[in-house]
């Protein structure tokens, strides 16, 4: 049951081989057993989860069955869920029980999915290792002395450790794809505007996008079907026709299912800076794709190296504005002692935010301040356009772009925690995708010294269905994505 696909779980539920209550209890028991070591979940509410499962069983008994009815899912603790602690990994929100549901949560509820609990994350999604969480670091289930990646590291570890069949994540600079890579998962960041951001605690609003984290492209497609869609409550939500993101997956498997597909290999993804063992797994995946009928084309993203500097202006600038709402007045942490209103703000924010969040607020405040705005913020936005135009040019020569997700496998806890710049550079291959607003995904493509390696696929705008199919065809002929870490029985 633990290694079943979502489709298989739905069939088992529909065929009354298992009830949603039984399935939910199975995962709650595993969470109780393994979460103390992995720290993937910040909070669970077993009674609430089981009540949802019972309601799902009633729906199933009445014949009201959708693809996710009765399926338990883990939700990143960035999504507000009514009656649930919603902490965003921060002391600032350590006592915040949300009075409302995010649109993503509403959609999963409507689909009959069960909320298993809220997953740990880097504080306010700022980090690539999950070490900035107020609730302590998450351990990588493949090697508990290593990080799971971030910021959606709790979701990644939960699914990898079989503490949830699938989970949600959010991705501002790689926060779905990098932890998916480090934990052997399949994760998809959709095109900006496809999934509503309403009720998803804001980090950098022009980059933030939610998406699925699961054990296969097919599972990701089923989750995205539930998550995506126009939402009038999010001013950047796009009005587009409803899509079935799994529509290409059911075509019969042929010898060369990807014949005619052009895969672009940006030379900037294949230069120095990537571990040799990671690159060897990527090269093997390229050979596999050729065997599936795809044609490789060399492309170039000449401004990609500027994506990290531009991102570390734009994201902190937006964060400094978004996080100004945390003032100790309407919700969240308030310092116990202060002299006056201004002092209350300054002390509440100093005590409520962790070091990385404060650094980014300070960077953002500086680059937006009088006299520096043009040199930093506007320059970064101009570079953002150059980066987006590089992708537009590349997609004239190819259908999807392929490369590594992360330059290394999971690193040791503590290795980069003291050096922000080294931490930032671990997102070198993912950030440009957010700046351009494109869909991107990571899927397992091998192991290096026992640690998972992630393959990144980047699609053109709104090409999620094709991306998922390109990943699915690879997963039909490989078994990397099916492997589970040992020692978590």
């Amino acid at each position: 049951m633990l290694n079943s696909s979502l489709k298989e779980l739905a069939q088992a539920l529909a065929g009354k081989k298992i009830s949603s209550v039984e399935l939910t209890q199975l995962y709650l028991d595993r969470i109780a057993r393994h979460n103390p070591a992995i720290n993937a979940y910040v909070s669970t509410q077993p009674e609430r989860s089981l009540a949802q499962a019972k309601a799902a069983d009633a729906r199933i008994a009445a014949g009201d069955i959708g693809p996710l009815t009765g399926i338990p899912l883990a939700q990143k603790d960035i999504f507000c869920a009514e009656g649930w602690l919603t902490t965003c990994g921060s002391k600032m929100l350590a006592n915040f029980v949300s009075p409302y549901d995010a649109t993503v949560i509403q959609k999963f509820d409507a689909a009959g999915a069960v909320n298993l609990g809220k997953t740990n994350m880097d504080e306010f999604a700022m980090g690539s290792s999950n070490e900035t969480s107020f609730f302590g670091p998450v351990k990588n289930p493949w090697d508990q002395s290593r990080v799971p990646g971030g910021s959606s590291g709790g979701s990644a570890a939960a699914v990898a450790a079989r503490l949830a069949p699938a989970a949600t994540g959010t991705d501002t600079g790689g926060s779905i794809r990098q932890p998916a890579a480090l934990c052997n998962l399949t994760g998809l960041k959709p095109t900006y505007g496809v999934v509503s951001r309403w009720g998803m605690i804001a980090f950098a609003s022009s980059l933030d996008q939610a998406g699925p984290m699961a054990r296969s492209a097919e599972d990701c497609g089923l989750l995205l079907n539930a998550m995506a869609g126009f939402d009038p409550k999010d001013s950047t939500s796009l009005e587009r026709p409803v899509e079935d993101y799994t529509r290409e997956l059911n075509a019969p498997a042929t010898a060369k299912p990807l014949a005619g597909l052009k895969i672009g290999l940006p030379k900037e993804f294949f230069g120095e800076g990537c571990d040799a063992a990671v690159m060897a797994a990527i090269q093997a995946a390229i050979e596999q794709y050729k065997a599936l009928g795809a044609e490789m084309v060399e492309v170039s993203l000449p401004n990609m190296k500027l994506s990290v500097p531009a991102y570390y202006v734009i994201a902190p600038a937006e964060a400094s504005s978004n996080l100004s709402r945390f003032d100790g007045v309407r919700y969240g942490y308030r310092a116990p002692e202060y002299d006056n209103l201004d002092d209350m703000y300054a002390k509440s924010r100093a005590q409520g935010f962790g070091a990385e969040v404060k650094r980014r607020i300070l960077i953002g405040t500086y680059v937006l301040s009088h006299g520096y705005y043009d040199a930093y913020y506007l320059q970064a936005q101009r570079i953002r356009r150059l980066i987006a135009e590089d992708f537009v040019a590349a997609f004239k020569q190819c259908d999807v772009i392929l490369g590594p997700t992360s330059p290394s496998t999971a690193f040791k806890l503590g290795d980069k925690a003291g050096d922000p710049v080294q931490m930032y550079l671990s997102d070198i291959y993912t950030i440009a995708v957010n700046l351009a607003g494109l869909p991107g995904m990571s899927l397992p493509c091998g192991f290096a010294e026992g640690l998972p390696v992630g393959l990144q696929l980047i699609g053109n705008y709104f090409d999620e269905a094709r991306l998922l199919n390109v990943a699915h065809r690879y997963q039909q002929v490989t078994d990397w994505h099916g492997r589970a870490p040992a020692g978590l029985e």
């Binding site: 500027l306 703000y345 100093a350 300070l362």
Partner: protein, 95 residues
């Protein structure tokens, strides 16, 4: 470029984050490291390139100025640090 301790104190004040003298020094070191990364942008000639604020260059959608939500003041104030008679309480601002 390199920030000074004075500049760090100034932006910490603008951001309303209390910062001790000891924290100013560590923060300064970290921020200078980050800005040395950011400075790589400055060598790029971007003359004539329009700044890009949105991935699809779309303007934000506007909605009718109409009431769409029900009154949930009690639920929203239940999570506030201090309220009274439906109002948020803060330290006295006007003497």
């Amino acid at each position: 470029m390199s920030l000074t301790p004075e500049q760090v104190r100034r932006i910490a004040h603008l951001a309303r984050i209390e910062t001790s003298d000891a924290e100013v020094q560590t923060t300064l070191d970290h921020l200078n490291g980050i800005f040395s990364l950011i400075e790589e942008m400055q060598a790029v000639d971007t003359q004539g390139v329009a700044p890009m604020a949105h991935a699809q260059d779309l303007a934000q959608r506007l909605r009718e100025d109409a009431v769409t939500e029900s009154d949930r003041r009690a639920a929203f104030q239940a999570v506030a640090p201090e309220t009274e008679a439906g109002l948020y309480l803060v330290p006295k601002v006007i003497e």
